[in-house]
Symmetry: C2
Subunit: 135 residues, 2 copies
């Protein structure tokens, strides 16, 4: 019920591109997506970017802004791309979507000095993942 936004009917291109991103263990860049779907008939950057835009809009994927890369949403609590948080390992570049009720609550209610509240946010944490910490 709260997952309405997951139930869009994807078009052919959107589905091809979503499936690729969803299967990937790390974020994918637009042109790497392009190379990977050319055998499926998607030939031009714009076809990729249009699908990406739509998928971001409906919350099926997120853009990792600091990396210009895209990752599938694995967090049912991020409301249609409006509130996202990620951890990024600075060595292996592993990206994980953070799903913390406390964090989302804190940020959703955050007010600045003027008392402004915001409708949307994106947070990126940087550091070392567990594996890289041990090396």
């Amino acid at each position: 019920m709260n997952k309405m936004h997951k139930e869009h009917n994807l078009t052919k291109n959107q589905k091809i591109i979503f499936d690729l991103i969803d299967k990937s263990s790390q974020p994918l860049k637009a042109y790497s997506i392009l190379y990977n779907v050319q055998k499926k008939g998607i030939k031009a950057p714009l076809q990729v970017y249009r699908a990406l835009d739509k998928l971001v809009e409906i919350g099926k994927i997120h853009k990792i802004e600091s990396r210009n890369a895209f990752i599938a949403c694995h967090n049912s609590s991020c409301q249609v791309a409006k509130a996202t948080a990620f951890s990024i390992c600075e060595i292996c570049e592993k990206v994980t979507e953070i799903s913390s009720a406390g964090l989302s609550k804190y940020l959703a209610n955050f007010k600045d000095k003027d008392g402004m509240k915001y409708s949307k946010y994106n947070l990126e944490f940087f550091g070392l993942c567990k594996k890289c910490t041990l090396k």
Copy 2:
């Protein structure tokens, strides 16, 4: 004393570019910076990007990742670009650096499910600024 990072001696190019960004009321993009400093002898993108990289590194400016633009640091509490937060108006694109002790404390101490803490973060809030709210 806590401002050590503000006291780097900037080189000529770094100074020219920092001054431009610092005087600007909104974030500036790399190529718009380039056009604005060509009369001062900075001719190539790389000269701009190198200065920007250095200025980001020493915390005199920040990159607004979602906009690919650069803004001067006006927040003595953001420790050398390691912990940054901004509000971005989706209509007029005004960007303000948020300086909230509560927020920085909360995020600096945030631990994910595995208990990982992170050394760095960047947070971007989106919404309407006061002026645009009233329109």
